[in-house]
C-alpha cells in the first residue's frame, strides 16, 4: 500500500523542474511513488472506446464551418481527450511497479493525472513530456524489458499525437470561425485546395517541404560545425509536383529528422572532402506518396543497429540520457536557437503556434544527440497509416523510405481497448 501522506506538492514539483533544471543524477530510490487514488472516475472513462478519425473527416468537417459544427467539434474534443488520457493512465498503472518508482515516469504520470482531472492541458509542463518519458525509459532498463518499454512508449506517444491533433484542430477551426472575415456557411473565395482546413494543409507539396527542411537542417549544421563546413548538396528527383493533404508540422518533423541524420553522418564521415550529395526521391502512386532519402554517410554502426527503432537504447544509453536531460532547459531557451518569426522558414507558422514540443525538439542543436528521432518519426509516419523504413549499407550509407497515404482516408492508428487489456 502506498503512503498517501507522502504525496509531494504537485505544483512545486513541476515548477522546480522547469526553472532549476537540475543536471542529471541518479534517481532517488523511493519517495516518488504516485499515491493510491480511488479510481471509480477513471474506471468510467477507461471503459469508453476512443473514436479514431481520418484526415479526410477532419477536412470535410472543417471546410464549411458554422456554429453548430464548431460546437459539435468542441464536444468531440471534450469527450475524446479525457477518454484517451484515461486509457494512457491505465497503461501506466499497469506497468510494473518498479517503472513508476522512477522519478521521470512518475512525473509524467502525475502530469497526465492532473490533465485528466482538469480536462485541460498545461502547455509548458507538457513540453517536457517526451524527453522525460525517454529518460525514464532509459533509467528503468534493468527492471522492465526493452520490448515492453517500447510498446509502452509507442502507445503513449501515438495517443499524445492524437490528442494534440484533435485539440489543435479544434482550436484552429475556432480561430478561423472567430476571425473577422469568416461568416457562417461561407465557402472559401480562394480555391479550396489552397486552404488550410484548421491544421491540415490540403496541398502539402513534398518538394517544398523537403527544401524547407533542408535549409533548416543546413542552418543548424553550420551553427554546430562552423560556417566553413562543406555541406552535402541535396538533390531532388522524381515527381516533384506531387501534393497531398497532411499536417505540415508532422511531415516537417519527420523529414527534418531524416535530413539531419543524413547531413550529420555525411559531414562527420567525409570530413573536409567534397561531400557526396544526398538524393531525395519523391514518387507518387494512386494511393500513396513515397519519399526516399539516400545518403553516403557511412551507414549505421553494427552495434546500434538492433536498437535503431527502440527507445530502450543499447551501448549509447548513458550519453543519450545525459543529452535528454538538457532538453527541458532547451524548451525554455528555444528562442535563441530558432529563426526569427519574420524568416520564411521560421517554425512560428501554422502548426507551431500552439507551442508544440515538436518544434523544441526540431530546433535542438545538432550535437545534442537524443537517439529518439527515428522511433519518433516512425510513430508520426505510422499515425496516419503510413510507414518508415531504413536500410543501411554498412560502411557506405543509408536509405530511408517514408510512405504516406495520399487520400487522407486512413484512420488514425491508435492503441485500442483490446490491445490495452491483453496480457
Amino acid at each position: 500500500m502506498l503512503n498517501i501522506a507522502r504525496r509531494p506538492s504537485a505544483h512545486l514539483r513541476w515548477t522546480t523542474t522547469l526553472l532549476i533544471c537540475r543536471p542529471y543524477s541518479a534517481p532517488p530510490s523511493n519517495g516518488n511513488i504516485p499515491p493510491w487514488r480511488p479510481s471509480n472516475v477513471l474506471d468510467e472513462w477507461v471503459q469508453r472506446e476512443a473514436h479514431p478519425i481520418s484526415l479526410r473527416q477532419l477536412t470535410f468537417f472543417g471546410r464549411t464551418l458554422n456554429e453548430s459544427r464548431l460546437l459539435s467539434s468542441a464536444n468531440y474534443v471534450r469527450l475524446e481527450l479525457p477518454t484517451r488520457i484515461a486509457h494512457r493512465l491505465r497503461n501506466m498503472q499497469t506497468l510494473p511497479y518498479s517503472a513508476l518508482t522512477n522519478e521521470h515516469i512518475s512525473h509524467v504520470y502525475e502530469a497526465y493525472y492532473r490533465a485528466f482531472e482538469t480536462f485541460r492541458k498545461v502547455p509548458e509542463e507538457h513540453l517536457t513530456v517526451i524527453p522525460r518519458l525517454a529518460m525514464g525509459i532509459l533509467e528503468i532498463q534493468d527492471s522492465v524489458s526493452g520490448d515492453e518499454c517500447d510498446r509502452f512508449m509507442n502507445t503513449l506517444l501515438r495517443s499524445r499525437i492524437s490528442r494534440r491533433v484533435i485539440a489543435e484542430q479544434h482550436l484552429a477551426l475556432n480561430e478561423t470561425f472567430h476571425s473577422p472575415w469568416h461568416f457562417d456557411g461561407k465557402k472559401s473565395a480562394v480555391a479550396p485546395e489552397d486552404e488550410f482546413v484548421g491544421e491540415i494543409f490540403l496541398k502539402c507539396n513534398a518538394k517544398e517541404i523537403v527544401e524547407k527542411c533542408a535549409r533548416r537542417a543546413n542552418e543548424l549544421t553550420r551553427k554546430a560545425y562552423g560556417p566553413t563546413v562543406s555541406l552535402p548538396k541535396i538533390v531532388l528527383q522524381g515527381h516533384l509536383d506531387t501534393t497531398f493533404p497532411y499536417i505540415p508540422s508532422h511531415l516537417e518533423y519527420i523529414l527534418g529528422e531524416l535530413l539531419r541524420n543524413s547531413i550529420q553522418s555525411v559531414v562527420e564521415q567525409r570530413g573536409s572532402a567534397e561531400p557526396p550529395p544526398i538524393e531525395v526521391l519523391i514518387c507518387e502512386a494512386a494511393q500513396h506518396v513515397i519519399i526516399r532519402v539516400s545518403d553516403q554517410g557511412g551507414g549505421i554502426d553494427r552495434e546500434i543497429l538492433p536498437y535503431l527503432w527502440s527507445f530502450a537504447k543499447g551501448p549509447r544509453r548513458m550519453k543519450r540520457l545525459k543529452n535528454l536531460g538538457q532538453v527541458p532547459r532547451l524548451a525554455a531557451t528555444m528562442q535563441d536557437l530558432q529563426l526569427p518569426p519574420s524568416h520564411p522558414d521560421s517554425t512560428a507558422g501554422s502548426g507551431e503556434k500552439f507551442g508544440s514540443s515538436l518544434a523544441s525538439l526540431s530546433g535542438r542543436p545538432p550535437d545534442l544527440r537524443l537517439g529518439i528521432g527515428l522511433p519518433m518519426s516512425r510513430i508520426y509516419a505510422e499515425y496516419w497509416a503510413g510507414s518508415l523504413e531504413l536500410h543501411s549499407l554498412e560502411g557506405y550509407g543509408c536509405d530511408a523510405f517514408l510512405q504516406i497515404s495520399r487520400l487522407g482516408n486512413k484512420n488514425e492508428v491508435l492503441s485500442t481497448r483490446a490491445t490495452m487489456d491483453a496480457v
Binding site: L281, I290, R302, H391, L393, E394, Y396
Partner: protein, 481 residues
C-alpha cells in the same frame, strides 16, 4: 552451379575417371538404416557452421593428415544432419510423403545415410579409406542434385493436403539445411581434388579452355599468380562480386534478348574492386535470381533504357563485439538471427528441426548461435531498378516458396516436363535451384535469401510501388584466413 568438373579445373586438375562416376555406386558400401539409427542420430544437437570451419584444415594442397582431418570433420557432421532431414520429412502428413516425388526425396536421404553408416565407429586414417569416402561424397552430391525441382513438383501435386504456409515452413528449414549438407560434401571433394599428392599444382599450365562454364572464378584464376590460388575448396577468398555481377548480367541479358527482344543494362557504382571471401556458386545463384527479377520488371514496365543501378559497398572489418548481441536476450533467438548482421544461428541454417522437436530455439538457445569472428569484412550490394515496384498484395507473398507472378499454365508446363521450353535455352545447365528460365517456380527469392543468410548475410526488399524496387543483398565473408 559449378560442377565437380569445373571445381577440379579451377584447381588445375582434369576430372579423374572412376571411382567417381555414377556407375560405380555399386562399389559403395551401404548398411541398413534402422529407425533407432535415425532416432539416435537425430537426437544429436547441431551447431551452426561458419565459413571459417570449412577453411580450418588449411590452404590446399593439403597434407595427407589434413585431408584425413577434413574427411573426419565431414563425417562428424553429416550423419546427424541427414537424420534430422529424414525425421523432418517423416513428420509431414502421410499423404504428402506418399506422393511419389516427395517419397523419392525421402528415399534419397535414407540411401545417403546408408552409405555413411559403415563409417559409424571408424575414423579415416588411410589414403584408401579417404578415396572411398570421397566416392561416397560424390555420390551424395550427385543423388541430391535435383531435390528442389522434384520437391516442388511433389508439393504442387499434393497441395490439397498441406497448406502453403506449412510448405513454406518445411521448405525454408529443409532447403537451408540442404545448402549446408551440400556445402560440407562439396568442400571435402574440392579439397580432395586440390590435394592429390602426386599431382603438382604449380606445374599446371593450361587454363581451362573452351567448354568451361562461364564464371568469375576462371577469369580470376587467369590473372592470379600460378603459385597462389585464392581458393580453399569451393570458397574463393578473393571473390570479386563485380565479376560475378557482370557474368550474371550477361547471362540474364541473353535470355531477355531471346524472350523479349530488348535487353536492360546495368550501371555499377561504389567500390567495384571490392573482394570478399565467399562461395562463388552461391553468389551466382543469388545474383542471377535478383537480376532476373529486376530485368523482367524493367522490361515489362517499358523502362529498358534506364540502367539498373548496382552499388557495391564494402562493409568495414570491425572489432565490434557481436557476442554482446548474442548474450543480450537469449529468448529472442530467431528474431535476432534475422535482424542482426554478424550473427548466424541454427535457424538460419535450417538446423532447427521443428518437426522432430530437437534443437528447438527455446531448448538450445545459446548453443544455436555463433557470432562470426571479429574482422569478417563483408559487402552490401544494392540493386535499384525502375521496374514499377511490387504491389502491396504481392509483397505479402514475396518470401513464400512457390509464389510467382507467372500464370498457372507456365507453372504446370514447368513442373510436368523436366526440360520445357525456356530451360533448353539456358547454357550451362540449371543452377542449384533447378529453375533456369526467367520466372520459374517462385523459389528464387526465398532460396536466394536462404543462401545469403546462411553465413550471416541477408536480403531485404524495398518496394516503391509505381516507381521501382530497391534490393539490398548483404554478405559476410570468412575474414582473414
Amino acid at each position: 552451379m559449378l560442377s565437380l568438373r569445373a571445381v577440379a579445373r579451377h584447381n588445375g586438375f582434369p576430372l579423374p575417371r572412376p571411382p567417381l562416376s555414377r556407375q560405380s555406386t555399386r562399389h559403395i558400401q551401404t548398411a541398413t538404416v534402422t529407425d533407432s539409427d535415425i532416432a539416435r542420430l537425430a537426437s544429436q544437437p547441431l551447431h551452426p557452421l561458419t565459413l571459417a570451419d570449412l577453411c580450418k584444415h588449411g590452404h590446399p594442397p593439403l597434407s595427407k593428415q589434413a585431408l584425413f582431418n577434413s574427411a573426419n570433420f565431414t563425417l562428424s557432421l553429416l550423419p546427424a544432419r541427414l537424420a534430422h532431414r529424414i525425421q523432418s520429412l517423416r513428420s509431414l502428413p502421410y499423404i504428402v510423403v506418399a506422393n511419389p516425388n516427395v517419397h523419392k526425396i525421402h528415399g534419397n536421404y535414407v540411401h545417403s545415410l546408408s552409405t555413411l553408416l559403415p563409417y559409424a565407429e571408424r575414423r579415416i586414417e588411410t589414403l584408401q579409406d579417404e578415396i572411398a569416402f570421397t566416392a561416397v561424397m560424390a555420390d551424395l552430391v550427385q543423388t541430391h542434385s535435383n531435390t528442389i525441382s522434384i520437391l516442388a513438383r511433389g508439393f504442387l501435386e499434393a497441395r490439397k493436403y498441406i497448406t502453403a504456409r506449412e510448405v513454406t515452413r518445411f521448405l525454408d528449414e529443409h532447403l537451408r539445411a540442404r545448402i549446408g549438407t551440400r556445402l560440407i560434401a562439396e568442400q571435402h571433394l574440392a579439397l580432395h581434388f586440390s590435394s592429390r599428392p602426386h599431382h603438382d599444382l604449380h606445374s599446371s599450365s593450361s587454363a581451362p579452355s573452351s567448354s568451361a562454364p562461364s564464371s568469375s572464378s576462371s577469369s580470376q584464376q587467369h590473372n592470379r599468380d600460378a603459385e597462389e590460388s585464392s581458393y580453399i575448396g569451393v570458397i574463393d577468398t578473393a571473390l570479386k562480386p563485380a565479376n560475378i555481377i557482370r557474368n550474371c548480367e550477361a547471362m540474364v541479358g541473353e535470355i531477355c534478348e531471346l524472350k523479349y527482344g530488348v535487353r536492360p543494362t546495368i550501371k555499377m557504382v561504389g567500390e567495384t574492386e571490392t573482394t570478399i571471401a565467399h562461395i562463388p556458386m552461391h553468389l551466382e545463384y543469388i545474383l542471377t535470381e535478383l537480376l532476373k527479377n529486376s530485368f523482367r520488371a524493367t522490361i515489362e514496365a517499358g523502362m529498358e533504357r534506364e540502367a539498373i543501378e548496382i552499388t557495391i559497398a564494402p562493409a568495414p572489418a570491425s572489432e565490434a563485439q557481436t557476442k554482446t548481441l548474442k548474450n543480450k536476450n537469449k529468448n529472442r533467438v530467431e528474431q535476432m538471427a534475422h535482424d542482426h548482421v554478424g550473427v548466424i544461428s541454427n535457424y538460419d541454417q535450417g538446423s532447427v528441426d521443428y518437426a522432430s522437436g530437437s534443437n528447438k530455439p527455446d531448448q538450445a538457445a545459446s548453443g544455436n548461435i555463433r557470432a562470426l569472428a571479429e574482422s569478417t569484412p563483408g559487402v552490401t550490394i544494392r540493386i535499384r531498378d525502375r521496374g514499377g515496384g511490387i504491389s502491396p498484395e504481392n509483397l505479402k507473398n514475396l518470401w513464400e516458396y512457390g509464389f510467382t507472378t507467372f500464370n498457372e499454365e507456365e507453372i504446370n508446363e514447368k513442373t510436368s516436363s523436366s526440360a520445357g521450353g525456356m530451360d533448353a535455352v539456358m547454357a550451362g545447365g540449371g543452377g542449384p535451384g533447378g529453375g533456369s528460365s526467367l520466372a520459374g517456380l517462385g523459389y528464387g527469392l526465398p532460396l536466394g535469401r536462404a543462401y545469403a543468410e546462411y553465413f550471416g548475410g541477408g536480403i531485404a526488399v524495398q518496394s516503391l510501388w509505381g516507381w521501382g524496387t530497391d534490393v539490398y543483398l548483404s554478405l559476410r565473408g570468412v575474414g582473414r584466413v
